[in-house]
């Protein structure tokens, strides 16, 4: 039996398999192998439907980092099942479609590895119970989306779109991480199930407001809600299968998933309701309004996706009301809003997937997707026309397609908002239906534009292109999806009862199965139907006179937009970063060394002073040997001499003196090995210095600016002082017993009488060996530097 954990891992394993084994087969289309993965997962999830519909849930736990309370818990309930089915089901069709869309000449290895990476992380997002695991997968979807948008990285637009999507979604991801951490601070657990159980205890917590805002920021950026929607149209640079999959059916719905998942946590909060429903409504309106303006079919679909996501968001906002503590009787009505939301979510994936694939076909066959250059394709591409019509009419909310049903339910929910008498909703309840209705008119218009401007009117021949129907394989996926669009309309309750009801139940833990109604095709002549009829009439009128209507857009100039804001912000950040870097990366060694010393003085010295860590005592001191007095004082004098040394010879000799004096000190400290080594090394070092002295020029009498000199002196004295203070404090307070006693068994353990030698040659022999390697590397460095006579570097410097 395949567990849910394994289901998440399977796409990643497949990606690894491609990388290791399949990359060599250039002529084999890897898509056929990839196709198996979502198909298997889809079948497995289908088998879970009866279990989930009976109210069961599946949990699997693997301890990942138990010490930080981070565990890999996967959780399958009604809500995650809906998303899981979408991810794997649409995924199967998209992979099948991509096999015909991309030829083996393109870099398929990259494409499918990114795609599998996305599929795995998206499944991870919806199946994770642990907030941190969810977050990791969440960011992984952003990254794989980035990689897929930039698939044709040679194009400037692709790179721009990929970067934009990454900036905005990762920014939101960080906000969401902050929100999750706050949630952990408040509830003390990372598990979503446990949070839902205990959240009622913390409703008055002061972190509640920022928490809601941060988590919603994550959801809104991912689901392209106003004003973060600007990344989605630019993401259309991706290959069409990707646009259909990530940027319409699955990834952009991750934000909606988070809103749904957290509805039991935050539902009933005024802020949650207002943010989710009003931003959703604004997005619904703005997306549909802007879509009409587009001439690129994919951009049009992008704005339409934005608008539809707004619609689903609004419904979740309304649905959250039924968790208000003072609501009992009416709650059924608002749960219906969530039902409608999930229903529309599925419907949107079917009809939007269809449309994207059809537009991909048009682009593939005709070579353009510009509305101004398309027309009259109906006689050449009858099948494409049929499925495009099904998709568009469903999107417009017309019967007999599934979009009609969910649109009606949307109107029902939004019309009943006025019955709710908290949060001063009644004041604004009138606006909601009006805005929603206007947005639906726009939706109708752009849906008609897709069908009629592409397939009707005079045929505009593209140079060198012969219009003909797409190949059979390419048509299978959109035909399947459009068949679903129709089937769901006629048998909505199969989907409703087995898939959507369990999902609603997992959003509302307290609600029972019987409280949720089922979908009916005919409600009688009620307000909702009248609204739809109104949409059709006004929509047709506006569509016919759209050239006049489009003059409205003159009021919204293109240079004042959120896109411009984003571009300017990006440019500003670039310049700011450059400015800051240029400010401190001066290219002077002196400055860099100074930063280190200043850090040492201020942070280390400051914090030790602040903590009162400086102590001083003479208790442990040994009496000072008279020779030590003598040698120590000469070292100090020699050190001072270097300060004032005028010639380099003096400085080198004084340095040599210090080295030999320290060798003398080693003798007094009873360290014969050290004294010997120091003597030899110091001799060679001095000789080396003198050799360099021979090649390098005499010190010039440079005029050092007084201020610079004073700064240097102040810094060096401070560093010396703090160094001394720290050393004295360490010496005064011995915290641990010396471990050296261990080495005094040298004779028995290592068979040597000289303890220092046994440490180097036996106890720590590996260290010594590596030390020899360091010496060897330094030797190679010295040798190459002397032998290296390539003159390229010289020329470069002179060019400056």
């Amino acid at each position: 039996m395949l567990t849910i954990n394994l289901a998440i891992l399977l796409p990643f394993l497949a990606a690894l398999f491609i990388l290791l084994f399949l990359r060599r087969f250039r002529r084999f289309h890897i898509g056929w192998f990839v196709l198996i993965i979502p198909a298997i997962l889809f079948a497995l999830l289908l088998r879970q439907i009866p279990n989930i519909a009976n109210g069961k849930t599946l949990i699997h736990q693997i301890n990942w980092i138990p010490s930080f309370d981070i565990n890999f818990i996967s959780y399958l309930d009604g809500l995650s099942l809906v998303f899981g089915l979408l991810i794997t089901g649409i995924g199967t069709l998209v992979v099948l479609y991509s096999i015909y869309y991309l030829s083996t000449e393109q870099s398929l290895v990259h494409f499918y590895i990114y795609l599998l990476l996305f599929m795995g992380s998206m499944l991870g997002v919806v199946f994770s119970d642990h907030l941190m695991v969810l977050y990791v997968f969440w960011e992984l979807t952003s990254i794989s989306s980035f990689l897929l948008i930039a698939y044709w990285y040679q194009r400037k637009g692709s790179r721009y779109g990929a970067k934009k999507a990454l900036h905005i979604t990762v920014l939101g991801g960080f906000a969401m991480l902050i929100g999750f951490l706050m949630l952990y601070v408040v509830t003390g657990t990372f598990s979503i199930r446990e949070i839902i159980e205990t959240i009622h205890l913390y409703k008055d917590h002061s972190l509640m407001t920022p928490m809601i805002i941060f988590i919603l920021l994550g959801a809104f950026t991912k689901s392209a809600q106003f004003p973060f929607h600007i990344w989605l149209p630019d993401a259309m640079e991706a290959p069409t299968p990707i646009s259909a999959y990530l940027h319409s059916a699955t990834m952009v719905k991750a934000g909606i998933y988070v809103v749904a998942r957290f509805t039991p946590v935050f539902g009933g909060e005024a802020l949650w309701f207002w943010l989710v429903s009003s931003i959703g409504l604004l997005t619904l309106f703005w997306g549909s309004f802007t879509a009409i303006r587009q001439t690129d079919l994919k951009a049009l679909l992008a704005y339409s996706t934005i608008s539809q996501l707004g619609l689903i968001m609004t419904l979740f906002g309304i649905g959250s009301l039924s968790l208000h503590p003072d609501i009992h009787v009416e709650s059924v009505l608002y749960t219906q809003a969530v039902f409608a939301a999930l229903f529309h979510l599925v419907n949107h994936s079917t009809f939007k997937g269809t449309l994207f694939m059809v537009i991909g076909i048009i682009d593939y066959q005709i070579g353009t997707r510009d509305l101004r250059r398309l027309g009259g394709l109906i006689s050449f591409m009858p099948i494409s026309f049929t499925i495009a019509m099904i998709g568009s009419f469903s999107m417009a909310g017309l019967p007999p397609f599934n979009g009609f049903l969910s649109k009606e339910m949307f109107f029902t929910a939004i019309l009943h908002l006025k019955d709710f008498d908290f949060f001063s909703i009644q004041t604004f309840a009138g606006i909601f239906p009006v805005v929603a209705w206007i947005a639906s008119v726009f939706t109708f218009i752009y849906s008609m534009m897709i069908v009629f401007q592409t397939f009707f009117g005079p045929y505009k021949e593209q140079p060198g292109v012969e219009a003909k129907e797409a190949s059979f394989g390419m048509l299978i996926p959109p035909v399947t999806l459009s068949a679903l669009v129709v089937l769901i309309f006629f048998f909505p309750n199969i989907l409703g009862d087995y898939v959507i009801k369990p999902a609603v139940l997992s959003v509302y833990p307290g609600v029972t199965n019987e409280m949720i109604g089922s979908i009916s095709l005919w409600h009688g002549f009620n307000k909702e139907l009248l609204m739809t009829i109104g949409i059709i009439i006004l929509g047709i009128i506006l569509y016919i006179y759209r050239t006049y209507f489009k003059k409205v857009y003159i009021a919204f100039p293109r240079n004042i937009s959120f896109d411009t804001l984003y571009n300017n912000a990006l440019e500003f950040t670039d310049r700011l970063a450059k400015g800051i870097t240029n400010f401190y990366m001066t290219g002077y060694l002196r400055h860099y060394v100074m930063y280190i010393f200043l850090f040492f003085i201020i942070v280390l010295g400051g914090s030790l002073y602040y903590l009162g860590a400086f102590t001083f005592s003479l208790n442990n001191d040994q009496p000072v040997h008279p020779f030590v007095w003598m040698i120590a004082s000469t070292i100090v004098i020699a050190g001072m001499t270097i300060f004032f040394a005028k010639t380099r010879l003096t400085a080198i000799l004084v340095n040599g003196y210090i080295g030999f004096a320290i060798a003398m000190l080693f003798v007094l400290f009873r360290a014969p090995d050290l004294a010997l080594t120091q003597l030899v090394v110091e001799t060679v070092t001095t000789a080396l210095f003198l050799l360099c002295f021979y090649f390098l020029p005499e010190w010039e009498k440079t005029k050092v600016v007084r201020k610079v000199k004073m700064t240097n002196i102040v810094i060096s004295i401070s560093v010396g002082t703090i160094f001394t203070l720290i050393a004295l404090s360490v010496k005064s307070g011995k915290l641990f017993r010396s471990i050296s006693a261990y080495f005094e068994n040298a004779d028995e353990l290592a068979g040597g009488k000289n303890i220092v030698n046994t440490i180097l040659g036996d106890f720590r022999a590996f260290d010594t060996m590596l030390e020899v390697i360091v010496l060897f590397i330094a030797g190679i460095g010295v040798y190459t530097l002397i032998k290296y006579t390539n003159n390229k570097g010289v020329e470069k410097l002179e060019d400056k």
């Binding site: 001066t586 009873r670 070092t685 080396l688 360091v774 010295v782 530097l785």
Partner: protein, 112 residues
């Protein structure tokens, strides 16, 4: 005795810091060499000077000077020698190529 050695090391650190901040290449290298000396003295002082005898086991003595700092310093002396040698050759090459040992003139490229 530890206090005296630490103070000597402190003075050496001051000198080394001053040299590191100067713009002459040789001075900077001298600074690193002197800094190493200071660290050796510090290590020695941290170990303490309690024992009576050199760390060579014999029947005559029972207490020995702490051998661990000595082993550390021995390693450090050798490594610092290697580093100094490398620095000096580097300085030689830099001068040969650029005709200057003034660090303020060796700033590479502005926009790299």
């Amino acid at each position: 005795m530890e206090t005296v050695i630490i103070i000597v090391a402190g003075v050496l650190v001051t000198v080394a810091t001053y040299l590191l901040l100067s713009k002459n290449l040789i001075r900077v290298i001298l600074g690193t060499a002197i800094l190493t000396h200071a660290v050796h003295l510090l290590l020695m002082a941290m170990g303490g000077f309690k024992g009576e005898s050199v760390p060579i086991i014999s029947d005559k003595h029972t207490t020995y000077v702490d051998a661990l700092p000595q082993a550390l310093i021995l390693t450090s002396i050798v490594i610092s020698f290697a580093v100094t040698a490398f620095f000096l050759v580097l300085a030689y090459q830099v001068y040969k190529r650029t005709n200057t040992d003034d660090l303020s003139k060796l700033r590479g490229y502005r926009h790299e």
